[in-house]
């Protein structure tokens, strides 16, 4: 075990009451006294979002979970967020990370019987990248220019520019490999599946539930152990918790900190926590006053007592942030000196910037998820003594999307853990590959160039050192106030074994999860 893993495991243990066996990297699950037992039905709950099961188009965590069970990607991410084989058994880079060649596993079967071929991978990526498809995450797949099948089991991706993290990106939910006959009808794909995954679709009721059955011909022989999985939407968290207590639900995904502490105190239940990359941050639009002056940005960042904010908003379940989006869950993580509140220094900076009498700014926060509103309200109070008069406006998510988001205002962004640091950094800062949500790129071309150069570096250690420069700049001059990363929180009964909570909780692998004999027999 390397020191990096221990630290990560330690973060996972913070706040963890029981269930150490479920922490990635801490206990090899196969050393458990009992051995895997086939059979049983696992019932999982979520609180929202289940409109479609089309992997190319889906955007919610619940949908990503469901397609993870029915499909495979070329790669998947291990507990250290490194790409490991899934449908691809190996890959190699050429021409300075401009060309990526993937060798596919032999003898993989789709649920409808046909064998997987390189053409299916080509068809999937071609559809995903086609502008006419309008896939929401098209940008995240990187600068792919061409996809070709070299033979039955070899696929070659040619990039427009170097893209060193492509094998990790191949694990994103939208790059699940779909059989080419399924791609012919994108409408039908919203409610049918053409995958190779451990489970096949039995029933899908949009907005309510997904039910899947064990796929006997799965390429990981002997797996999955479960006979099936049910995913149900509970709009009301109180009902969800009661259903869990009554053992109508075996595993709750996406717990709030309040529910987490309740689950963790139940006898026989386990609260699982793992450091993730999920965060809410405040944009500081840097192309116009007052935040075009870095002294004002710095003053606002200095107002925030991050530890107190984390305790008040997320029950202390998280990792403190230093105003950049790369948490310890990412391969590119570099520890920087923590930030603490310094109101004296903040006041001085405001004075230097000519704002000794204070400044009034408007901050928008969507009402979903609730963390956005909470950050806005706590920031308002913390920044008041320094002279920031923050006028918080909370608005419905649909209005926020249409009227505020990405329009250059000051608002609260919220992002779940992405597959790579590149994905979240490009999304937040880059004016072309992403959206430059802080309107900061134009005045900081050198920093943006650092992000582009990182894509050329294949060696993870060298890449990490390279990112360190960008992260420092982002902390000291960047256009975001990012107070903390929220831990991923799940709850489960002890009879659910081998379940490992991923830093991206919708990355729910159930291939080798099994149920012990004391799991409830009656299934409703």
């Amino acid at each position: 075990m390397t020191p990096r893993i221990s630290r990560r495991a330690f973060l996972g243990v913070t706040g963890l009451i029981t269930g150490a066996a479920a922490i990635p990297g801490l206990t090899p699950a196969r050393v458990l006294a009992q051995s895997e037992k086939p059979g049983g039905l696992l019932r999982v709950s979520v609180t929202f979002g289940l409109s479609t099961i089309n992997p190319i188009m889906h955007i919610s965590g619940a949908e990503w979970m469901a397609t993870k069970w029915m499909y495979n990607n070329l790669t998947r991410l291990n507990a250290k967020r490194e790409p490991v084989p899934d449908l691809a058994e190996s890959w190699s880079a050429g021409d300075g990370a401009r060309v990526w060649t993937f060798k596919l596993r032999q003898g993989v079967r789709f649920h409808h019987g046909r064998e997987l071929a390189a053409e299916d991978v080509v068809a999937t990526f071609t559809t995903l990248l086609d502008p006419k498809t309008a896939s929401p995450y098209r940008g995240e797949v990187g600068p792919v220019d061409r996809v070709e099948a070299l033979d039955k089991s070899t696929v070659r991706f040619t990039m427009k520019s170097p893209f060193s993290v492509f094998p990790a990106i191949a694990a994103v939910p939208n790059a699940r490999v779909v059989a080419r006959e399924g791609l012919a009808d994108m409408k039908a794909l919203a409610s049918r599946e053409f995958g190779t995954g451990p489970f096949k679709l039995k029933e899908f009721v949009p907005g309510d539930r997904v039910v899947v059955d064990r796929f006997a011909d799965y390429f990981r022989k002997g797996e999955p152990y479960l006979d099936g999985v049910t995913l149900r939407v509970f709009p009301d968290p109180a009902t969800e918790l009661t259903a869990f207590k009554s053992k109508e639900i075996d595993l709750i995904s996406g717990l709030t900190p309040d529910l987490f502490s309740q689950v963790a105190t139940l006898a026989g239940a386990e609260g699982l926590a793992v450091a993730g990359g999920t965060f809410a941050a405040v944009t500081l639009p840097s192309d116009k006053p007052p935040f075009n002056d870095n002294r004002v940005r710095e003053a606002l960042k200095l107002c925030v007592d991050r530890k107190l904010m984390l305790a008040a908003i997320h029950n202390g379940q998280g990792e403190l942030g230093v105003d950049h989006p790369v948490s310890s869950a990412y391969d590119a993580y570099v520890p920087l000196a923590p930030r603490s509140a310094d109101l004296e220094k903040a006041r001085q900076l405001m004075k230097d910037a000519g704002l000794a009498n204070g400044v009034t700014v408007k901050l928008f926060a969507a009402n979903s998820p609730p963390i956005r509103e909470r950050i806005a309200v706590v920031l308002k109070e913390m920044a008041r003594p320094v002279g920031f008069n923050i006028d918080v406006e909370v608005l419905a998510y649909d209005r926020y999307l249409a009227q505020v988001w990405n329009k250059g205002a000051m608002y609260v962004v919220y992002y779940a853990t992405r597959p790579t640091a590149d994905a979240i950094l490009m999304k937040l800062y880059h004016p072309k590959e992403g959206l430059d949500e802080g309107r900061w790129a134009a005045a900081h071309p050198n920093a943006i160039r650092l992000l582009e150069q990182a894509r050329e570096i294949l060696d993870p250690d060298r890449r990490r050192r390279h990112y360190a420069d960008f992260l420092k700049t982002s902390r000291d001059e960047g256009p975001f106030m990012l107070p903390f990363f929220a831990n991923e929180l799940n709850g489960k009964w002890a009879y659910v074994r081998n379940y490992r909570l991923s830093p991206s909780s919708s990355d729910m692998v159930l291939d080798d999860v099994w149920l012990t004999g004391d799991a409830p027999k009656k299934k409703t």
Partner: protein
């Protein structure tokens, strides 16, 4: 009578057209469209334009509305923008679930509410009357999510666990399992709706009991039981039918909170979903279906009036 019915049906068609136009206008007052919500915070201007074109959202509003009316008239309900499934399939499933729940709740409301109201009217001013009226008032005053959650925690919690907390199972997987899932939401709705029927029955019956024809019946020596059941109730229940017709409309589309608490896949949650996702074809059909239930239930109530009371003649 037949001419009256035809006239009413024509006006119902007009009402439905108006409802659809108002709902269509209202959803377009809200900012954003289905494309902005499908793409979320990953939207690029290019992807937005592509999706809008594909869904026909870039056409003038009047054209969108006219083409929607044209296809609905020919029986094509269209495809949901967010779910990509036929609207008829989605709405049909939810409508059936809502109908089961509504019928269960209304049956209990009638079976419990009419006798309670009768009892209260006969014991007017006495402690039993007071108890019945107070209890039903408490039922209607407590917000339905509180009633629902209390029932859920008590009857579906780990210690009692008589009923499942939530959800819905198909009738095909067993009548018992199906009925068990209906009990808690139906019970919650009964508690909420009971006061309407009890109050209406009580005051209607109290009025009728002072009418001259009841005195006549009493003088000719009819038993108290015969007077209430045969003479008084039949007249007293007429307004109650109207109350039940309105309740039916509410149960078919307005019980969002109860459906959310019990994770019940009915029409109420579907309507909220359609609004939040700016799913215009889905919302339009939901609104039409719920409006149809309202107007048809009222129409049926009016016809029932004529049947129950020979003095009422429609022409």
């Amino acid at each position: 009578m037949a001419r009256y019915a035809l006239r009413r049906l024509a006006s119902i068609a007009l009402i439905l057209l108006l409802v659809s136009a108002i709902v269509f206008a209202a959803i377009h007052v809200l900012p954003g469209n289905a494309a902005t919500l499908i793409l979320g915070e990953y939207a690029t201007p290019e992807a937005l334009r592509t999706l809008e074109r594909e869904m026909g959202l870039d056409r003038p509003l009047l054209v969108q509305y006219a083409s929607w009316v044209a296809s609905v008239v020919t029986g094509d309900w269209g495809v949901s923008l967010a779910m990509k499934q036929p609207v008829a399939t989605v709405v049909g499933y939810r409508l059936r679930n809502s109908a089961f729940l509504a019928l269960a709740a209304l049956t209990v409301v009638v079976v419990v509410g009419v006798p309670l109201g009768t009892l209260a009217a006969l014991r007017r001013g006495r402690p039993l009357d007071l108890a019945i009226v107070t209890a039903t008032y408490v039922g209607i005053s407590i917000p339905e999510f509180v009633t629902g959650l209390v029932l859920l925690l008590v009857l579906a919690g780990p210690s009692v666990g008589w009923f499942p907390t939530s959800g819905y199972v198909e009738l095909a997987s067993g009548v018992t399992a199906w009925a068990r899932h209906l009990v808690l939401p139906a019970m919650t709705l009964t508690i909420v709706l009971l006061a309407h029927v009890v109050r209406q029955t009580r005051s209607g019956l109290a009025d009728v009991l002072t009418a001259p024809y009841i005195r006549t019946a009493r003088l000719k020596g009819a038993s108290a039981r015969r007077i209430v059941l045969r003479h008084a109730l039949r007249n007293a229940l007429l307004p109650t039918i109207t109350v039940l017709a309105l309740d039916l409309g509410y149960l078919m589309g307005g019980i969002v909170v109860v459906e959310e608490v019990f994770a019940y896949p009915g029409m109420g949650r579907l309507i909220i979903y359609a609004v939040q996702n700016r799913d215009v074809p889905l919302l339009q059909m939901c609104a039409l279906v719920v409006a149809s239930v309202y107007v048809l239930a009222n129409f049926a109530a009016d016809l029932a009036y004529a049947w129950l009371d020979p003095r009422i003649r429609y022409s």
